[in-house]
Symmetry: D2
Subunit: 273 residues, 4 copies
């Protein structure tokens, strides 16, 4: 027999929705990028060219804006669940995933902001026949330690030229996602983010792997609602620049920050049930 359709999904990506809630004294701002993904009974669309019942991705966009207008948006998890629930209620849909990224803004005054620090907040709600599952996450969290990090004792073979060091710069761009057992409150995300930041610096780091595991463990220990966390820590290498060859006293203070190649370390830390 011929080839057959396997797993499939479709949706709308990069829906840029900004909501200003106009309080009497000051405005609230939500700057979101939404991705909607649907899975379901779409065989006829692929195989027969029969679009009956297929929600258009343009409609998904309209829905996100419409529901953003109706929803108070005080809780991102609640909004994500409402949007995912809407799509899960459509006839052909089995599973609807809504992924929100929130761009950080730091308040300047009652009605003005500048782009903030602290990484991009991510929240994912997945709605299907089994209810709604929630996942949080973070992107673009750049962090750097200038002390308390080394790398030694690793394998050496004929291709190994890296010297051992007990003092290096550790710099990374944290990407993480984690599963909630229940429905997270609005403040859960910032708490997990702060836990990750603390755990990035509260120990001597013998490797990115060890620090990653430390961060993941700390996040699970701090919030009993977290079931699992996956972390990706690229190793943005800062290489000591040899200035002794120019006749300069080399105190090991100057580094060449490189963008490529880079190490990639990723792992999941999960509840031990």
């Amino acid at each position: 027999m011929g080839p057959r359709l396997g797993a499939n999904a479709y949706g709308k990506a990069e829906i840029r929705v900004v909501k200003v809630t106009r309080g009497a004294e000051r405005h609230l701002l939500r700057d979101l990028t939404a991705d909607v993904t649907l899975r379901g009974h779409f065989e006829a669309v692929h195989v027969d060219g029969d679009n009956s019942g297929l929600p258009a991705t343009d409609t998904m966009r309209n829905v996100v804006y419409a529901l953003a207008a109706e929803h108070p948006l005080e809780s991102l998890p609640d909004f994500a669940a409402v949007v995912a629930g809407h799509f899960a209620g459509l006839e052909l849909v089995e599973l609807a995933t809504v992924r929100l990224r929130e761009q950080p803004w730091e308040r300047l005054d009652a009605h003005a902001w500048q782009r903030g620090a602290g990484g991009t907040r991510v929240h994912v709600a997945e709605a299907g026949t089994g209810g709604v599952r929630h996942a949080g996450g973070i992107e673009e969290l750049l962090v750097l330690r200038s002390s308390g990090s080394g790398f030694s004792g690793f394998d050496r073979d004929r291709y190994t030229t890296l010297p051992e060091t007990e003092d290096r710069i550790l710099a990374t761009i944290v990407t993480a996602d984690w599963d909630h057992a229940g429905v997270p409150g609005e403040d859960a995300w910032a708490a997990t983010r702060d836990t990750l930041l603390r755990a990035f610096t509260d120990h001597f780091s013998p490797s990115v792997q060890f620090t990653l595991h430390r961060m993941g463990t700390a996040a699970l220990e701090a919030d009993p609602d977290l079931e699992r966390i996956h972390l990706t820590l690229p190793n943005r290498h800062h290489l000591p620049y040899d200035v002794a060859r120019f006749g300069i006293d080399d105190r090991g203070e100057v580094f060449h920050a490189t963008s490529e190649p880079f190490g990639v370390i990723e792992a999941t830390v999960e509840r031990n049930r």
Copy 2:
């Protein structure tokens, strides 16, 4: 009990290796970006900070360049397998994945090139105890049809504003990956790429989904060594620009090309065994 380490992997990304093979009459050029990923017995690294036996990612970089110097690089699948096999032979490693992207260059003369068209070639070799598995792929293949594409008969509800059309621009950036049953030859990739290009245009497209399925089916039918292909076709919307409101005869020839939001359609087509 406390949290435990789950699935984990690490490696080196964006290793930029260029090889010039200096033939008597003309040079050959391979412009590769390699990502190496290892999985294995790395619990002690994460949990105990014990790096014994851990291959450094810096060593991975050295290995890629060293093996590129030794290997004729006439066959990309063979080179990928050699590199993956090297890492699979290390003590703590269970599975080694080497992902190569080849930047396309178009020959200008015997020793000069300009960046070429036709997408970025991808080849992945995965080496473990079960031998080496091969996968191909393509990225950044931009294609556009100005005829033979429509979208109608889809679901309409209170949020639907998209008009039906029997004549639209269909533009996408093809990303695909496919599994080989055996070891592909050097020419297999270009054959699959050409099949995908032909299948993009050889039919009336009632939806991106239908065209995706047609492309996947064509690829499997053309090469019996392909077991499965996964395609992602973002729908880069080209919206008709209403010029009638300016008193101009609107022949439907002018479009607003948008970058966001965009549709994302993805599916796997596989052998029906």
Copy 3:
């Protein structure tokens, strides 16, 4: 006295306009990105908040699409001049600049294309009281030579560590712009592009500077309508990777392609009047 307004300009950038001309046998495709910039009597707008007579940038967008619908678009210089001329005719405007970039598409069949090679075409028309002036240009033209390039005899001081070489890879991303004395025809751009490509490779290159000067000179010699050409050639370094230290016979065939830092060489070549 207090600060005063100096030079100022405003406009609309990244107007993405695609035109499909539906011929009986085959379609023509123009994929353009337009930037419109106006200069003129806009002091009151800046200083007094008086917008009288100010063309909105949203209107500029509408104009580009409207004129694209009316214009046959067989000649890009002519279209650019028409659009610039429109804006130059507005009351407060002294100088209107229209910058078009054309994304390259390579024909697959009568109604389908894939993204092409050869760089992004640029055309600029500037309309003011003195008529229309035309400038051409190119962006994102990646070229590489694997032979016939060296770098030696340069200055050496205590900070110099670069070895001399008579055989290196020369890789760059050409950006160029040039002024026309008259009104260029539709084919002038491709001719200049081809001249630049030939002049990139037709000599031994002792430096990027020499090759840049050679390219500029060749362009002016080939087209008497060109008055001046400005070239920017970043030196995308390909560093020999030392594999001898791994006990491998180093034939100098393997290079590490770097993205940063990079050399930047730029110069103007002009008619000697």
Copy 4:
């Protein structure tokens, strides 16, 4: 006569230098990207292929790291002047420009940081026979106002469809550069940045132009050492999303943030001498 060499320059871009100054109680971190550009007597290099006396761009890189090792880096303007002065002292060089961008880091503890808010600091020192001239600047300063901004009274013609509004979102990414009459202290930059932020929000904005002029005027008024400031304010449009068509009470709170096309408003404000 044939074409001749006109204005020319060359240098090294994207030199990524990080300095950690290890104080007893806490570290200081400088994360810089340096661009070096030289102008001078380089005709023979371009025309004759004679590299005598030419400083290699690789040497420029070494110099930046070497001087960073020697310099305390407590004052960015001073460091920039030292580096520019070094190059200005070379035989063929007439003018040396050093452009530094400082990536913002926010302290987490004595030895750790996360990427900070507030834009990228820029400092340029230009050294030639007339001494050293200093310029400051800022990049990537994203700001947004949700109140106190309108756009009305602008020109309307047959192509105008934009409605007038007295209440819109004003969002921009500030890029600015300014000339110092003297040598700025280390704190001058933050003061100008803060002035720009305050002046972005302290008035009703009838246009981006008016706000730009207000910001530039405020900067010159706040620091008598500033001679001239050039601002570029792209108008990152936030379009009201029409949700009334879905039967929803439209309170004008939901916006579609667009990335293209965008308005570009730029102007110089200078001392009125």
